[in-house]
Structure formats: C-alpha cells, structure tokens
C-alpha cells in the first residue's frame, strides 16, 4: 500500500512538472513548482518508510523550509525585479518601484 502511495505521488509530480513547463504565465509556474516541492517532501517521507530506513526525514524537513523561502523569494523578485527591496516598503519607494 505504501508503494502504491509512492507511485501516486510520483505521478502527481509528473503532472505538476508538465504544468510547470507549459504554464502560460509566470505564476502558474511558481504555483506548480511550489506544489512540486510539497510533493517532494511527501515522497521523501514515503521513500524512507518503503526502504525501511526513515532517515530521509531530516532532508524532507530542510526541503520544506527551502521550498517556502524560495517561493517567497521568487514572488518578491517577480514583483520588484530585485531582491534588495524590503518587503514592507515605504510609500515613496513603493510608488517609485511602480
């Protein structure tokens, strides 16, 4: 049953990869990559239990954190075209960026 679940997660990842490649807009790609990262965490957990060595969970925890930070960073880059802008911008700098 765990093997079937692992295969289902792998199939879901393949579908998300297709959406990330052919997504019409940037945000479709961001959404697909974010969801792909979530599925990667689940797949790492499954792999640990299927192979009988649940040591991959540290990697899964780390991957969840990196996935979240990467998604937020990419969205910020899409909006401001820079990583250097503070997220809570003042009124003048926000209008200057627009």
């Amino acid at each position: 049953m765990l093997v079937a679940a692992t295969l289902a997660v792998i199939a879901a990842m393949a579908l998300l990869l297709a959406r990330a490649i052919m997504g019409p807009t940037l945000y479709d790609r961001v959404l697909a990559v974010n969801s792909f990262g979530t599925k990667t965490v689940l797949l790492l957990g499954f792999l640990g239990f299927v192979t009988g060595r649940p040591d991959f969970l540290d990697i899964a925890l780390l991957y969840a954190m990196i996935n979240f930070v990467g998604t937020i960073a990419i969205l910020k880059f899409f909006r401001y075209r820079s990583f250097g802008v503070p997220l809570v911008a003042s009124k003048n700098s926000a209008q200057g960026e627009e």
């Binding site: 049953m1 679940a5 879901a12 599925k39 640990g48 969840a64 937020i72």
Partner: protein, 133 residues
Amino acid sequence: MADTSLFSPENLEAARVFVGSALALTGAVFSAAGSIGVLRFPDFYTRMHSASVTDTLGATLVLFGLMLIGGWSLVSFKLLCIWIFFMFTSPTASNAAANGAMKAGLEPFLGKWTGQKIKIEGQEALRAQEDRE
C-alpha cells in the same frame, strides 16, 4: 490466552500499520487529484485553489499516516514538525502567489455564468484599492 483475543498486541500492531498505510494512500490519492486539477483547470486562480487545498489535506493525511506507522519515536516527531511547518507555510505561499498575480494584473477567467459585470467591478475595486495605497 491473550494471543487468541481480537485485541492481542499482534493484531493491534497490524491494525496500526494497516490504518497508517491506508491514511497515507488516501493522502497520496488526494495529492494526485490536486495535481490533475492543476493540469486541467483553465485559469491560474482555479489551479491555485486545486493545488493549495489538496496540498494541505493530502500532506496532513500522508504525514499522520506515516506517524501511525512510525509509532512513538523520533521519526514521528520529525513528521509532526514537518506537518506544523506545512500548516504555516502552505497557506502563506498560496496567499503570496495569489496576491502577486492579482497585483500584477492577472485577471480571473470568468465563464458564461458570471458574465462581464463582475469582471469590471472587480477591476474597478482593484484600481481603487491601488489608488488608496
């Protein structure tokens, strides 16, 4: 005497692993359904609905199922940490993606049942909000 009982330790152990595997399989099926929705829905916002909702439910089911298999151990604690982290980050990332798309001017695709009226009103509301800011 305890071996012939229905609630013997062996039976309870087998039931625990079975229920955990069933929960994990259910969560994986939810995740696959969400991915099919991401691939087939016509619009960014509908795709995001499919992805974010099934991410939360599927990850919860999978992680709790694996926790049942793991029992009381460090593995289950790590899975619990991953789940708590997901409960914070998954809605946040979805909200950030939707907010970014809305601010960038990506309009929702509206079908024949909603018509053009809602679209214009939503656009005007967005413009007014941007002016206020």
